[in-house]
Amino acid sequence: MKIGLLVNEGPYQHQAADTAFQFAQAAIEKGHEVFRVFFYHDGVNNGTRLATPPQDDRHIQRRWTALAEAHGVDLVVCVAAAQRRGICDPDEAKRNGKDADNIAPGFRISGLGQLVEAAIECDRLVTFGD
């Protein structure tokens, strides 16, 4: 089955990012295709490489990055939600006159069309959030 994931909450603050990751991992292990993970609302905060969680806890961003590297999962951060919350890649930083970017490896910033496309293309769109 072709599956799209929508993550609507920030890491650590909310379980959504953990459950979505575990779901993605389990789906891949079962032979399903995870077509895309789309990060929206505070979910965009999953995509900053500047987070420094305690060393004895999970590193949510690095876990996503490893999933992308191992299985080619497309991790997409919504540009409009990202701009509001200060998540940007080098192009966005330049366009908006910022002095730094913070997007993590394996993530890319794109538009909401990527979410709607995932909903149309996938057999299931699974939402993680409240």
């Binding site: 929508l6 609507n8 929206y40 609302h41 409009a80 939600a81 509001r84 538009g111 909401l112 069309g113 979410l115 709607v116 496309e117 909903a119 149309i120 293309e121 769109l125 939402t127 959030g129």
Partner: protein
């Protein structure tokens, strides 16, 4: 934009227009999603019915009032907005308290028709069940 058969997409709005960002960012998905030419409807339940309330004024809060954007939905061919009757009644609201949202039917000499349909809980459950995709905001 997509080649395959049209899918039935519902945008299910469960939250008040203020207090959190879910309602306005949810509406942004609807407006972007309109470009994909799918079979789209919206539903409003719980505090989500407040999103359609007429006369919203956010000036004292410093938050942008995005409620005028709902009036544009008809121009985006989003013209089926289901509002749960019980949710309205539980909040002391009726359809007259909501914005008079309309759309123009090009197959009926551009007649102006209401976009808001008040449905009861059981009917809404059937509508949700009939969708291919339900976006929750």
């Amino acid at each position: 934009m997509s080649a395959g058969p049209r899918k039935k997409l519902m945008y299910l709005n469960r939250r008040a227009p203020g207090g959190t960002i879910y309602a306005v960012e949810g509406l942004e998905v609807v407006l972007i999603g309109a470009a994909f030419d799918q079979d789209v409807c919206m539903a409003f339940v719980g505090d989500g019915v407040y999103q359609l309330k007429a006369g919203q004024d956010t000036s004292d809060s410093g938050v942008k009032n995005f409620s005028p954007a709902y009036r544009a939905l008809g121009d985006y061919d989003v013209n089926r907005l289901y509002v749960e009757r019980e949710s309205l009644e539980e909040r002391g609201l009726g359809v007259d308290d909501l914005m008079p949202l309309t759309w123009e039917d090009e197959d009926d000499d551009w007649a102006e028709k209401p976009s808001i349909h008040v449905v009861d809980r059981a009917e809404l459950a059937r509508l949700i069940d009939a969708q291919d995709v339900v976006f929750n905001f």
